[in-house]
């Protein structure tokens, strides 16, 4: 089993994603995809009432799960986890049974014109060259991070440690303690 501490993951900083959808077309271009399969897709969710009403955005690329349900569900072994944890598909083995889509809670598996499963590869070709996946490299809001969980946690702490507004209730509590 892959060590989840050292596996690279795609993390979405939802505090930052603002729904511009650039990740969707940069992904299409990078992976040379026609309209149809969507390796990533930004979903908008409305929350709150009255003065707290707001929009939220969540791009959903493949999560490359540690114990991936799609890999377990695949009856032909077309789906597999690479040594570094990236979940990939060998299309020639796929029979288009859709078990992976049934198993994936994120709706990630896509099906092109040939009916075979295809999906986000974390831009494995770029990863192998030491660069970031196209969506993470391009994100104008710098909301898509691709790194190990530990490094992502460090980046988030750097981003938000100085900002009282983002941790409103928490910082108020800290202040109370300080007083």
């Amino acid at each position: 089993m892959m060590d989840t501490r050292t596996q690279r993951i795609l993390y979405i900083d939802t505090q930052r994603c603002m729904g511009c959808r650039a990740c969707e077309t940069v992904c299409k271009l990078e992976n040379d995809l026609p309209a149809g399969p969507r390796y990533t897709m930004v979903t908008e969710v409305e929350t709150g009432t009255g003065l707290t009403e707001k929009l939220n955005f969540l791009p959903v690329p493949c999560q490359h799960c540690g114990d991936a349900p799609c890999v377990r569900a695949c009856p032909t072994g077309a789906l597999y986890k690479r040594a570094d944890g990236i979940v990939l598909v060998e299309q020639s083995r796929c029979i288009g049974c859709h078990e992976c889509l049934m198993a994936c809670p994120f709706g990630v598996p896509q099906f092109g014109k040939n009916g075979r499963m295809t999906k986000c590869t974390m831009c494995v070709h770029r990863i192998d060259e030491g660069s970031l996946p196209a969506c993470a490299a391009n994100c104008p809001a710098e909301a898509i991070l691709c790194d190990t969980p530990e490094n992502i946690s460090r980046i988030l702490r750097q981003r938000y440690s100085g900002s009282a507004s983002l941790y409103g209730p928490f910082s108020a509590l800290l202040q109370e303690v300080a007083e």
């Binding site: 929350t47 939220n56 029979i95 288009g96 049974c97 994936c104 896509q110 099906f111």
Partner: protein, 190 residues
């Protein structure tokens, strides 16, 4: 193509889908004859729906010794002729979805035929757990569900069906020429 898809979060395991399916296909309530079965983890956690996915490259078609399972080259629909099936179960064993059913009346293995393009199980599923949609819709739907969970805006999960809902299902069945009383249906779902 459109397929029967399943959202486990919305399923309340009422059993209406299997009951309606067996009723329309065999004329009686018998979950073992239903072309759709909801599989659970343990006894009360809905997990997946075993129903024919009409695969791109169907294992059943390859497995069938008699050559009576066909795939329509245009629509991709997997169809069966039942005469000549000698119940070798090769289709059932090879099916990745576990969707093949041994029909007692036909004395042959069979599977979901999407009711000719308007599946009854989807019509009677009032919780919205079963849907009839294409890949893009299914994927978008699942992604939206995940996002809603992320922002804690997921709609309330369905509880038990109300009396009015049972009646509504009966009227849907009636419209299909399947005359059932609510009590009868409830019993059939158990």
């Amino acid at each position: 193509m459109k397929r029967v898809t399943f959202d486990p979060y919305r399923c309340d395991l009422c059993g209406v889908c299997s009951a309606a399916c067996s009723l329309v296909k065999t004329g009686k309530f018998d979950a073992s004859q239903s072309r759709i079965r909801i599989e659970t983890a343990g006894s009360r956690v809905p997990l997946r729906a075993a129903v024919c996915r009409h695969c791109e490259e169907p294992a059943c078609v390859t497995a069938c010794m008699r050559g009576i399972i066909d795939q329509d080259p245009q629509t991709g629909l997997v169809t069966r002729r039942h005469d000549g099936c000698f119940r070798c179960a090769a289709c059932a064993v090879s099916c990745p979805a576990g969707a093949c059913v041994l029909d007692e009346a036909l004395n042959a293995f069979t599977a979901c035929d999407l009711c000719g393009g308007d599946p009854l199980c989807v019509k009677v599923c009032l919780t919205g757990a079963l849907r009839f949609e294409d890949d893009a819709e299914n994927s978008a739907h699942l992604r939206a569900l995940y996002a809603e969970k992320m922002f804690e805006e997921r709609e309330e999960l369905p509880g038990e069906l109300t009396d009015a809902q049972w009646e509504e299902i009966c009227s849907i069945l009636n419209a299909e020429g399947l005359s059932v009383a609510p009590d009868e249906l409830r019993r059939g779902c158990r």
